[in-house]
């Protein structure tokens, strides 16, 4: 009797990680940075040498020393500790605002595309109009009414940021709606909600995942910009953007390192998030499946490289 070979069993998650490391070295670096951010954020209390925002007035504006690894700022706070606690703030804001944006964008875009007709038209007009309103204005209004705070910041950034991705989601769902299985589901009496949940959502899942990881970088950048302008986190909360803000500028001319470290860490974190999001997209996008995700086959590319005779280009 012929014995049929069984396909090798493999764990999807492990296989994904192997692919990540093998094919996307830069993406792996990005993933490591993201993990480092999460680690610093969760274990900030144990990692930071000094408690959050602790002031040592007699040690103001010190250069790096044994006591203060990166020096102190104009109030005598240890810069390294501020950066670690700032990581926690960035992590919280980044993850929650992005989660809110993703959920809202899916609901708005997906339902708008599914229900279609007048509902779609009206919702799209509102989305268009809302996209033109400056987010800063809404944020100021909310802050003036309710006061400054982390929750307000997350809510406003999450809601205002949902309108852009909702359009992408809408076009994706419109494309999926053309498929025959959607029609078939409708024919057997599938409700809209069930259709959305069980048929549409799994097909846009990769887009959601990629969008999420890319948006985190954007939200962290946005929060830093707002804190830089003075409208972000409440004063006293450590934030990388706030450490770079204009009020500290006069002290920066005395101790330039004040401007270097927060910005550097901010850039590295956002860079890591973006790289990871990119690598994720390259790995998960179904259009790039069934190959190595390249436009030419490996053999042809290798041959061309050899013919050209240069190793760098």
């Amino acid at each position: 009797m012929v014995r049929v070979a069984e396909p090798k069993k493999r764990n999807a998650m492990v296989h994904f990680l192997v692919r990540l490391v093998k094919e996307k070295p830069l993406g792996t670096v990005g993933a490591i940075i993201v993990v480092a951010l999460l680690f610093c954020g969760i274990f900030a209390d144990f990692l930071a040498p000094y408690p959050m925002s602790e002031i040592h007035l007699k040690d103001r504006l010190q250069p790096p020393s044994v006591n203060y690894a990166l020096g102190t700022d104009h109030l005598g706070r240890d810069i390294l500790s501020q950066i670690i606690y700032g990581a926690r703030v960035s992590m919280i804001i980044g993850l929650s605002a992005t989660a809110l944006t993703t959920v809202l964008a899916n609901l708005i875009g997906g339902l708008s595309a599914l229900l279609g007709g007048k509902f779609d038209l009206i919702v799209q007009r509102f989305v268009d109009a809302w996209m033109c309103i400056p987010g800063l204005l809404i944020l100021l209004t909310v802050m003036a009414i309710v006061g400054r705070g982390l929750l307000q910041l997350i809510l406003v950034m999450g809601i205002m940021g949902a309108f852009g991705p909702s359009r992408m989601m809408r076009s994706a769902v419109l494309a999926i709606r053309q498929n025959v299985y959607v029609e078939a589901a409708r024919a057997v009496g599938c409700s809209t909600w069930r259709l959305f949940w069980r048929h549409i959502l799994p097909n846009v899942m990769y887009m959601i995942i990629v969008g999420f990881s890319t948006s985190v970088g954007g939200i962290i950048m946005q929060e830093a910009s707002l804190s830089f302008l003075g409208f972000g986190v409440p004063p006293g909360t450590p934030s990388w953007g706030a450490m770079l803000s204009q009020e500290g500028r006069k002290y920066m001319e005395l101790v330039p390192a004040l401007s270097l470290w927060p910005g550097l860490v901010l850039s590295i974190v956002i860079f890591g998030c973006n790289m990871f999001g990119d690598a994720l997209r390259d790995l998960l996008d179904p259009r790039l499946r069934g190959g190595l995700g390249r436009y030419t086959t490996t053999k042809a590319a290798e041959k061309q490289k050899k013919l050209r005779g240069r190793w760098w280009a």
């Binding site: 309103i133 100021l140 910009s225 770079l244 270097l260 850039s267 860079f271 190793w311 280009a313």
Partner: protein
């Protein structure tokens, strides 16, 4: 095409109405308004006797702030459409249209310079990255692109201002010189801010151009060009690049519209008297007419530039049709 354009333009008033009414309403809800600021100014600047200190209600009445909301809104919109009068600044009394006209050329110039510099840097890198795919040059290009998208431009601007002044004794010019006063000095002053403002869009352009170029290079007409024996330079520059530019132009339209809204951060850091700085000042001081006017102009610019970009697509690519 004209039918399409007209239909799109018909939606402009609706969008405009929603935006302006929302902005108008929001500014009224915010407590701590400009009247308080005026009163503080009055009581602290000159000493007045008790009887002369004007109370809050009089100020409000003089500025027209005690009328019902819809009346104020109607008055403002009427003023705009009849004689382009956007009202006066509540704080300084200067006509808003005057203030905007003063600052508009500056912002326009800065935006144009930003876009041009960004173009000049990103296009060669993007094309190179695409035609040498998966080589070291390509990786360098991609890292550059994502790096540009990740670095906050205010940080680089701060570094550029702080470090040279501490270590080299050279500082960035903070006094603005208009274009018609001294063109060379003006361009010098705007060069660094323009570079800073364009950092993010440079990164986005390199990525976009690389993606599109990769697709275009696999098209049939490019393959024909190779088969004809044309040099790489001709194929890339004359045949591939033209078609790859379309989405890039689209993106730049959007970027330009956003820049018109005022590169608030850059103008603040480098002390450039443009619309961005005006809008931040007005937001903080709750000067409603300025904010409403800036928003109005910005909304029109965004909607019109979206429309122009869409229409230009049909002009640039003969295959695109409009119903």
């Amino acid at each position: 095409m004209w039918a399409y354009a007209t239909r799109r333009m018909m939606l402009l008033p609706v969008t405009l109405f929603i935006i302006t009414i929302t902005v108008f309403g929001l500014m009224r809800i915010v407590p701590g308004d400009v009247v308080d600021l005026i009163m503080v100014q009055m009581t602290s600047s000159e000493s007045r006797s008790r009887e002369e200190i004007i109370d809050r209600a009089t100020i409000e009445h003089a500025l027209g702030l005690d009328r019902p909301f819809l009346v104020q809104y109607g008055d403002w919109m009427g003023g705009i459409f009849t004689h382009f009068d956007f009202g006066e600044s509540l704080l300084s009394g200067q006509p808003v249209s005057e203030m905007i006209l003063e600052r508009l050329p500056v912002t326009l110039e800065l935006s144009l310079m930003t876009v041009v510099l960004s173009f000049l840097i990103s296009i060669p890198i993007g094309i190179y990255s695409a035609i040498r795919q998966d080589t070291l040059g390509d990786y360098a290009g991609r890292v550059f692109a994502i790096g540009m998208m990740s670095i906050p431009n205010y940080w680089v601007a701060t570094l550029i201002i702080v470090y040279p002044s501490v270590y080299l004794g050279w500082s960035v010019q903070m006094e603005y010189v208009h274009l018609w006063v001294d063109p060379l000095k003006n361009l010098q002053i705007l060069a660094i801010p323009a570079l800073m403002g364009g950092i993010m869009s440079t990164g986005m352009t390199v990525r976009l151009l690389r993606t599109v170029m990769l697709e275009v290079m696999r098209e049939d007409y490019v393959r024909t060009a190779w088969a004809k024996g044309l040099s790489e330079r001709t194929v890339v520059l004359r045949h591939a690049m033209r078609n790859a530019m379309l989405p890039v132009v689209t993106m730049f339209g959007g970027v330009l519209a956003g820049l018109f809204g005022g590169s608030v951060i850059i103008e603040n850091i480098f002390n450039i008297p443009g619309m961005g700085r005006l809008s931040l000042q007005a937001l903080v001081q709750r000067d409603y007419p300025i904010i409403a006017a800036l928003n109005f102009i910005f909304s029109i610019l965004v909607v019109v530039s979206n429309l122009v970009v869409d229409l230009s697509y049909a002009w640039l690519d003969p295959r695109v049709q409009y119903k």
